[in-house]
Amino acid sequence: MVDILPLVYLSYMFISIYMLTLFLIIYFRNKHRFFTNPQLTKHYSVSFITPAYNEQDTIKETIEHVFAIDYDNIEELIIINDNSSDNTKQIVESLLSKYPKLRIINNDENLGKAGGLNKAWPLTKSELVAVVDADSFPKEDSLKKMVGFFDNPKVGAVTCPVLVRNKNTFWAKLQHIEYIAISFGRKLLEYVDAIYVTPGPLALYRKSALIDIKGFDENNMTEDIEATWHLAYNNWDRKMSLDTGVSSQVPTKLKPWFIQRRRWNIGGLQCITKYWHAIGKKGMLGTFIIPFFILNMFLGLVGLSIFFYLIGTRLISNYLSVKYSIIANTPFITSEQFIITPSILNYLGVILFAAGLIYLLLILSILGERIKTKENILNLPFYLIFYLILYPFIMINAIWNFYRKKYIWR
């Protein structure tokens, strides 16, 4: 184990440098058109659908935001009340008179998000279907910026950046950094036809594309990832407008955050299983997206195993060392043991960390974030060192639940 560790570290470094380089090359090639969108030539009709389960705190604001969108061809907004036990239904019904294009479908039983969407989208009368989560608030210019992409008949779905609305806790601020990095990465992936998710807060689908993929997979925990993979499988392009956005509520505490991420991971695993046969085929889905997901999972698991191995061996060594030191009546640790001679891997690790930090700063600066705030000086290193390290732990939990077929939404 010990002898292969340097090789494993070097492999991680190689992959990290590769991804960093790949993203930078794509960015510098396309930076002149990074924020540009196709001209709005045709005003496609758009139907919004919003699944809602116990969303009394946010549903009103979501409805208001949808109808505040600056676009002249919004056909309707359908709220699918998924058998909520709170006041979601009453709140929506109280707004029906104010918004004539608002409709509500009340499910007698809870169908889940994908089930609700599948009940609603076939009822829509428009050319485009916009899915909006019940705790998400699209920007006024979102449709004007996104709709133009559909002039290309190959485009099946368009997404936009998801922004954190409730940036009032430390945990939410870290997610804000993460969401910005994800948005940047997703835009870059657009240029190589590798967008792997059109997230639920706001995704615009061509209705004929939804018909082609037969809607959303009700067995999948992340219907948005599955739908995007299905679109890629059926050769539909996915695009992203970086110039607008949708703000969304994020978990502010560790536990709900963990549960949300576990669900995303389980959904990812379901997608890998479902599209396993497409590896090496079906364009970028089989040659990049699926291998990227698998590699990501593999690296996370190997990394976690090494982490536990190192922690475990260190604990055993320290325990034995302390035990013998007590017998020998010598100090547990001497000043000499504090003097560390760094190896080349330590130096490369520091350089890589610095490169990651610079890359993150570059992203924040490109996307107009204020970097030199006291908050960011603390948050950015914390995000890189501690926040991202939690991912493999979520992954292992997700794999365990996936193996037991325990698909928990909340």
Binding site: L10, I327, A328, Y347
Partner: protein
Amino acid sequence: MTSQKSAFWQAFIVTIIIFGIGVFFGVVLENWRTNQISDLYQQSELELLDIKLQSEIYTLGEFDCDQAVQENIKFADKIFQEAKILDKYEGASRLTTNLRIQHKKYDLLRTNLLLNSIKIKEKCTNDYQEVVYFYQYNEPTFETKAKQNVFSKILSELKEQKGYEILLIPIAGDNDISAVNLLTDEYEIEQLPTIMINREHKITNILTVDQLSTYLQ
């Protein structure tokens, strides 16, 4: 889109170049450390040769035991310090294995020093103590590692307390060196680590410094 996808190959080539530069600097760094150890070794080798020749010259006339013993102990202390540097560099060596050879060379040097000490002891009555520490170099278990860690600490403490009264020689007992193997067979060293005091007492259990001192004459 096709031209965009060339980014994958370009990134791969750039990564190989960056990674290659990193590995190259790694090898340069480790070779520089090896050269440092090698320089120290060459110096020490010369010094040992000098000490041995001095002993030979003394045998032609009146043998100056004090001088010979002092030279031997000083030299042992010097290479003990060098061994610490070697250990640190070896611990930080990830890409090359050149330092393993340096370690072997140091083990031979220390064996040579022990033999010289045995010779001097035969001729002199000086009451300095000979402490040889045979340790495990290759893949020690956690148990052995922890034990060796504590042995190192108590031997360092003992050396601090006794100073020039002790000739302390650590030797790797499993480094595939025939001379060391002969030595461990000769003194019936059956397990590693073992502290051998004056070629009489063999200690394999953890002791306090005071308990260890009782074995000294």
